[in-house]
């Protein structure tokens, strides 16, 4: 591990990561700024939005990041991670949709790109640690020596839902300086540092999908790859097997969705599941969306090495979900866990992450099976 204390800051060109670079630099920490080029915006021109503003890897964002680095006087480079991003994030994202699940690409990106390839690149350049603009906190447990992940001070900005996959090694080398601040304070800091992005708007959720229209993105990606539309078409059916209509793409539906079904049987209908084998979208009444339990797979524990006995936790099953009280039960396969909610939860969606909390502490998380 290098001893010079060099820290690589992942700079997106937004106000958060720019503030991180500025804060560390102000403290006298040796800093190098890196922007990850993750997606070639010349691809899929049919879904390109005008100018590409607010999208990842747009020239505007790289320009902003470069301006901030120049303003601070820190070394700055753009690194090309497009290949890894497509392999580890974009393709799995699309395959998950086709497999009847609703993926969380940001978690994949964190696990494999931001805290994977980026960490490797930082180390290659002599930086032992990386810093990002994530809203989350890392604590070291003095007794166990484990690196703990905690919710951000700014609850409304907390990003721990996307960070449950980080290993102890990754957490030990990551810094999240913004976890201690409220967002308005971060903007103040950016202003105080004279950063040219201090007033820049927030970025959208899925960075590589323009305007959040992931269905259009998937359609365009299929056209580029020469994949036929028939791979995604199918029927809309009820749980008891009645066919109500046809749909144009299974990736257009997610559990709990009501809009866009274009079938009417006199009462409100919701997507309750999608069947990857037949590409069927199964619809039903609101009550059919409620589930009292679920299996969580590919579990990563952060607060302790393994679950050995039943445990109480609050579980978030999507980013905007208010964590629901539940009990976690170990299973014979240590990578899986059974969760039983105190109250049945609406739209437990396969492919989304389930993140287990004890108050502000992230116990661990996994993928809803």
């Amino acid at each position: 591990m290098p001893e010079n204390g060099l820290i690589a800051v992942a700079m997106s060109g937004g106000v958060d990561s720019s503030a991180v670079a500025g804060m560390l630099h102000r403290e006298g920490v040796p800093v190098i700024g890196l922007t990850m080029q993750l997606w070639n915006q010349r691809r899929l021109p049919e879904v390109a939005s005008g100018g590409g503003a607010g999208r990842c890897c747009s020239l505007d964002d790289v320009y902003d990041a470069r301006q901030v680095a120049a303003h601070l006087g820190i070394p700055y480079y753009v690194v090309n991670f497009e290949e890894r991003f497509e392999r580890e994030v974009v393709r799995p994202f699309i395959e998950e949709y086709l497999a009847g699940r609703t993926p969380v690409p940001c978690t994949l990106c964190n696990n494999f790109v931001k805290f994977g390839q980026f960490l490797e690149m930082a180390e290659s350049l002599g930086a032992g640690r990386i810093a990002t603009g994530h809203y989350a906190r890392i604590r070291r447990d003095a007794e166990t020596g484990r690196h703990l992940l905690c919710r951000a001070v700014d609850e409304s900005r907390d990003q721990t839902y996307f960070l449950w996959g980080l290993t102890q090694d990754q957490l030990s080398r990551a810094l999240f300086p913004l976890g201690e601040y409220l967002k308005p304070r971060v903007r103040e800091i950016a202003r105080g540092l004279g950063l040219p992005v201090a007033e820049k708007g927030d970025s959208q959720e899925i960075c590589f999908v323009p305007n959040g229209d992931y269905a259009a993105f998937i359609d365009a990606y299929f056209r580029e790859q020469g994949i036929g539309r028939e791979r995604t078409r199918g029927e809309i059916v009820t749980a008891d097997g009645r066919t109500l209509g046809a749909h144009e793409g299974v990736h257009r539906y997610t559990v709990g969705q009501r809009r866009g079904l274009n079938v009417a049987i006199g009462k409100p209908l919701y997507v309750i599941a999608t069947d990857p084998a037949t590409q069927r979208v199964i619809v039903g009444r609101d009550a059919e969306l409620l589930k009292a339990s679920m299996t969580v797979a590919s579990v990563n524990w952060i607060a302790f090495p393994a679950l050995t006995a039943p445990m109480r936790a609050a579980i978030k099953i999507r980013n905007k979900h208010a964590a629901a009280p539940a009990t976690l039960y170990p299973s014979p396969d240590p990578a899986r866990v059974e969760a039983r909610f105190d109250e049945p939860q609406r739209a437990v969606t396969p492919g989304q992450a389930a993140v287990f909390y004890d108050g502000g502490l992230v116990l661990g998380g996994g993928w809803i099976a």
Binding site: T35, Q37, L59, P75, V78, V79, N80, E120, S124, L125
Partner: protein, 388 residues
């Protein structure tokens, strides 16, 4: 931090004598070369002196030199000017897979406009085979465009043999000479080319100036429209300071060519010997072919060229890997893929290009820095540990 510049194929600084020559054109001799008064005449004199100097370096006649904005414009004028001028309905252009984007991009646009393009492959030595060019000829072929020296490998293409094929077939022959000028002897008569692109900023003149050699009688038309400058081939008020700078730079190479190319070759050979001796798993790309004496392209197995370039920059050494895209990130080089390298090998390759800023002590420091950097990067990467 002391900084060392080993990226002269990307660009060069303006040489002191070049700057001295162009400064009066920015100050007192600022006239428009088309004006009839004293100021215009003075500017015109400087412009024509520069034209003779450029012509002298490549053994052309002064009236065969068209000044324009740089290598990309020269390539675009050559390709579009010849193709648009050709009378036939079906048109075909032959080029190679390892051309600079200025040529490949122009060919791509010609293709969208209905022109057929053949991109001849090159061997693993980075050289095109004239027989492949001959085989690609068609009755509707109007232009053959083959670069003189490759920007990434330095490999020199057999231009004389290729231009002979063109001449026999009655086809215009263009060469992008941007990376050859000042590095290898350029004699447009001996090479037999009709069109030859040159760039100022690769030969210690400023960016934004270049020239196209147009052999007298070559069927070409202008692709821009306006005034009657540059014998109707390139409208627009001449950039006299830029042309004077390019002329002065050409003069320097006319006067110092042999000495400088021998000096650079000795430095380059020492650099290659030093790196290959010190670094396991390093191999020369395009090393078997005749090369420009200043260029060295080396593949380092198992490490990312991108990390390598940044790590060296943080130590003060400027080198290059692949081609920078618009954001500044690195993409694997189409040239290295074309000579048969895998994507990983292409990504692991580094181009060192020497020039007037370099001396023997810098080369020794670079060898040391590369050896240390590669050693450290290999220790971090699982694939690289095999070489450690």
């Amino acid at each position: 931090m002391t900084r060392y510049y080993f990226d002269h194929n990307a660009t060069t600084p303006v040489a002191p004598e070049v700057l001295d020559a162009m400064l009066p054109l920015l100050r007192e001799d600022f006239g428009n070369a088309s004006s009839i008064h004293h100021y215009g005449q003075k500017a015109k004199q400087h412009l024509e002196t520069a034209r003779r100097q450029v012509a002298g370096l490549i053994h052309a006649e002064a009236r065969e030199i068209v000044f324009l904005s740089g290598g990309t414009e020269a390539d675009n004028l050559a390709l579009f000017g010849v193709v648009r001028n050709a009378p036939r309905a079906c048109k075909h252009v032959i080029t190679t897979a390892i051309e600079h984007p200025a040529v490949l991009g122009a060919c791509g646009q010609l293709e969208r406009e209905g022109v057929e393009i053949t991109r001849v492959r090159v061997g693993s030595d980075g050289v095109a085979d004239p027989d492949d060019i001959r085989r690609a000829l068609r009755p509707e072929t109007v232009l053959i465009s083959v670069m003189h020296a490759n920007n990434e490998l330095g490999t020199v293409q057999p231009l004389a043999a290729i231009s002979k094929i063109a001449r026999e077939a009655g086809v215009v022959c263009h060469s992008d000479g941007v990376q050859a000028l000042g590095k290898i002897p350029v004699d447009v008569e001996a090479l037999g080319v009709d069109l030859y692109s040159m760039s100022g900023h690769k030969v210690y003149a400023p960016k934004g100036e270049g020239a196209l050699y147009v052999r007298k009688g070559t069927p070409i038309r202008s692709v821009q429209f306006g005034g009657h400058h540059e014998r109707d081939q390139r409208p627009g008020t001449e950039n006299v300071p830029g042309a004077v700078a390019l002329g002065r730079a050409a003069q320097w190479f006319t006067d110092n060519f042999s000495e400088e190319s021998e000096r650079l070759q000795a430095l380059r050979d020492r650099l290659e010997a030093g790196i290959l001796a010190r670094v396991p798993g390093a191999s020369l790309n395009g090393g078997a072919a005749p090369r420009a004496p200043n260029t060295s392209n080396i593949c380092f197995d198992g490490i990312s060229g991108e990390a390598h370039v940044i790590a060296l920059d943080l130590r003060g050494f400027a080198v290059s890997s692949g081609a920078a895209c618009s954001s500044g990130a690195v993409e694997p080089s189409h040239v290295l893929l074309a000579i048969g390298l895998t994507a990983d090998q292409a990504r692991g390759s580094i181009r060192f290009s020497l020039g007037r800023l370099n001396d023997a002590a810098q080369v020794e420091a670079l060898i040391e820095a590369v050896a240390e950097t590669v050693g450290r990067l290999r220790n971090l990467s699982p694939a690289g540990r095999a070489h450690a």
